[in-house]
Subunit: 639 residues, 2 copies
Amino acid sequence: MAAPSPIVRPAVTPVRTSIATVCLAGTLPEKLDAAAAAGFAGIEVFEPDLVASSLRPREIAAAAADRGLIVDMYQPFRDLDSSDPMRFSRNLVRLQRKFDVMDDLDTDLLLVCSSPSPDAVADDALLVDQLGAAADLAAARGKRLAYEALAWGRHVHDYRLAARLVSTVDHPALGTCIDSFHILSRGLPPEPIADLDPDSIFFLQLADAPLMVMDVLQWSRHHRCLPGQGGFDLPRFMRAVDASGYAGPWSLEVFNDVFRHADPTRIARDARRSLRYLAETTRHELAVPDDEILSGGEVTAGDVVSIRIAAGPTKAPQVERMLSQIGFDLQGVDSATGLRLHRDADVAVVVDPSAGTVWTAPGSEVATIAQIALRTGDPAAWARRAESFDVPVAPVPVPGGDPDAAGDAVVRLDVTDVLSVDLRGPVSRSLWRDRFDLVPRDRHEPAALFDGVDHIGVGVSPADWETAMLLLRSVFGMRVEEGMDIPDAVGTLRSQALTVRTDTGGTLRIVASLLPDRMAGTGPVRRRGGLTHAAFACSDIFAAAAACRERGLRPVVIPDNYYDDLASRVDLPADVVERMRREHILYDADGTGGEFWHFVTPTIGDDLFFEVACRTGGYRGYGEVNSAVRVAAVLAADT
Amino acid sequence: MAAPSPIVRPAVTPVRTSIATVCLAGTLPEKLDAAAAAGFAGIEVFEPDLVASSLRPREIAAAAADRGLIVDMYQPFRDLDSSDPMRFSRNLVRLQRKFDVMDDLDTDLLLVCSSPSPDAVADDALLVDQLGAAADLAAARGKRLAYEALAWGRHVHDYRLAARLVSTVDHPALGTCIDSFHILSRGLPPEPIADLDPDSIFFLQLADAPLMVMDVLQWSRHHRCLPGQGGFDLPRFMRAVDASGYAGPWSLEVFNDVFRHADPTRIARDARRSLRYLAETTRHELAVPDDEILSGGEVTAGDVVSIRIAAGPTKAPQVERMLSQIGFDLQGVDSATGLRLHRDADVAVVVDPSAGTVWTAPGSEVATIAQIALRTGDPAAWARRAESFDVPVAPVPVPGGDPDAAGDAVVRLDVTDVLSVDLRGPVSRSLWRDRFDLVPRDRHEPAALFDGVDHIGVGVSPADWETAMLLLRSVFGMRVEEGMDIPDAVGTLRSQALTVRTDTGGTLRIVASLLPDRMAGTGPVRRRGGLTHAAFACSDIFAAAAACRERGLRPVVIPDNYYDDLASRVDLPADVVERMRREHILYDADGTGGEFWHFVTPTIGDDLFFEVACRTGGYRGYGEVNSAVRVAAVLAADT
């Protein structure tokens, strides 16, 4: 068990944080409340939010100031330039009306987008003239314009051209706005940002996005997400921004359909967390308004030491029978909590037979994975790190007993109702020994089937998805692997694997699957055919299958058609395929020597199942190619 | 009131219908049950469905035959050709294994897709050789190959090239498969299909899709839909197929994420309906297995004559107060049902104060629009038409009373819990007079504010969306307008307007909004700020506003910021903007002379509201640009 080493940081640059009101749902006062509560120092006021608000601009400025928020920018001003001189004149009149609003809003900065209109100016010289005219007007009113190249601008859609135009105009009231989405969505290299005059960069807007092949306007308007939630290389982008010498605010501008109907307080907290994540990866410290600099610290994930299953009274016996059949032995019962500990060498599964605990919805008795515990020698370091990411660290009441009886402090990652990670309770071996009266076992005794946990599969609702991705990547330093769309008899699952190397050189793997809303609800997951699972790792799949068979397991029966098809498409000896058929073992190969052999138990309560897996040759998948066969086999057994 | 005229059909060609098992959710037997129940004559067996099935191929053939289904095709066979001779040899061995499966499946036709692989053959001559070799093998086994150009095939992605290759091979065991998705998704013209040798077209696969700018493979795998649910011009496509002389089955192959977790019986019924819709637009009759040819007939929609509101006892007084404030008068109460009729000239609104009716979820008292009634002189023709599209025509029990007391036969379009259309009950004026003891009113009396219904807005859940689109387009002959994405303070609404000219020359307009799943549930809609609404048409918005004000209406208060912004962007006289500000009138202009003036009532029970609208100059929208302002104003009033 390696002790986490404190991070050695170079000198850090404080930065101010800001957020566009469009990122958050609700009325404008609700947005301001959320931004302030999350610790943002400033806001960008999005014009449609202002237009729709019953607060007058002056009242908005006061409401922001009351909450300690600076109005960093008013945005956006569209379609400034025009090849039609009359229209351009009208646009300048419209611009002056916005300066009136900005006077009341108490902000001097206006975002001006490059025009996507058919009448956008194509001639650089004319564009320079028009931008210059606008800058003159702005200067006369004490205002500044941040000119931004929209990714779908008609003529100006490259920040380098926008910067060149600004440089040519050479006016103190005209600068650029650098937006990560508009740059990275077009695949533009961020490095030239480093060469820009930092005084000409009036503002920095940040957004991530999942990598998608689609129309950039639709991508931008519906699918942006927070840094650390998508696929852009924002650390690379920030290195270029840093190198330019830019010292202004970091602001988030995220158009996201899920965020638009989510709790703004939660999104604002995620947003602040995303900037901290970005700051960590680029060695910044964020200056928070009250000057309290939170100091986290890096930690390294330990291996999975236990999995806690919220089973409820009726499902608990089924879960325990299944665990027994795959090699786990009951090791002890905590009289205070009723928790029942099952072990196979170093792997523990804790079954919670209480219902209505913090881990299950009241009255529900769907068995599901409630917590994953990682081994660590320094829970306090984890707690500090969690706190630095604004993850609440709180004692969790013990189910079924006196809340103080075993009041372990645990870090609950409030990811979903399904996934939370217990960092400081059961990871303490001595505490476990005391609680369950355990004797340490020799890990080489014959009964040990498993080398550890291969992966954990959990369902995450759309409302929780981005939060979960960000938490796992930030607090746990996990890396997102390539996403998978897995069709089966009951739907298409969008799954995302996250991995991180553990302190023993192993790999912690979590496969999160996006649940359709209808299946998420507020309680545990229910998906015909099952979804939540723990896969235990073994080194000999046939030996494991035989051992489980002897212990009474009847794995899910894989159809003969599967083996006929397998034989027609892979080069396995016929006798091996026959053994697999008898033991109901599924198979995948990655074409480069990696193989995955696995069998699965039936589902318990329409969701939970266990899997036994053997991974060789650097195989990096999860046998997802066999998922549809597994689901169909479970359904066939049910009917 | 124009009587619907019976359709005069040219000679019709009977066609057989088929469906790929991949279109439907569930186990293979469940899929077969659904296909048979919907009246399909054949199926395509999708290989992954076979591989995952516990039924052996011979059992699948028997299960299909038991249900009267012919196995028209086994599919797909991928990556046949290869520039690597060794791999091509292995592919031929793999092909022979599939012939073994097909022997048991009792089908002679195999779909062979063009290869998207890096080793796909680029040289036409070599490809002809390899296709010929495969055809020789097939012929020897009594099999046939239908070669299809995948839209993302590496070298072959145009059906014209596939057809040319097939023609060059000139082998009786080799033909093409024509798939509307692969052709229309690439924007290929369908007309050249007409020139193909009909004997070389071994199979026809049909799918529609919403028009999207995205990667064609992802589009194909997740977003296909049934004919009449998307944006492809399938009638044009079918005219070309017809002209070729093709006389084989029409088969549906639709990969759709929503269908994958929907009830397969419902999707199969929609699928059969979609072919009937397509047959009608192309003057075919579908041959159904039992030779019962359903005869529908065209009808023309009448104007909206009444809107039924399921209010429940607590909300009914609020709804009635609101109706009174916008000019409706209570005209009568049906003692048998408790229904309360409000009228303004030709427009009637029926308020249902009972809860737990067929229109509302038990115990719910959310007021919402339950039914829309259209005027017609020939309800029997509508019933015949509905029946021809497999829409159940059944008596609906009357709420709150003896089910037989007023047991009107109504055509319930089972679209959603929100939208159903009453075609034979309240549309009968004489029946209404009897029931509510009405005296026909002079439509020109002063109290008449409205000319009719401008549009109806309803929420539709994702699970119901495609069904709703197809029903409205098929039974009602409605046309889909351009879709709209409307962001506001509580989310982004994807809305789709459908329109149809009525028999009086008016327009029936329904705006369907896609509800996020979490808001759909099984009961009525709940969306902060409201969604369901009826907009009544007037010819003088200021007169209407004054009349409503005198009747006590306090419309939703539109913020001053809106009018300031409006004044800065449109050319309206200042005094007009001031009048609008006082009366809380919203505005939109389409830039070509069309204008839309409207004001809205507060929401009742978090959903329903009414709107008064004045549409001039051929304006075709719905004032959707003001939607965010309306929602924010409602939220601001709530807080």
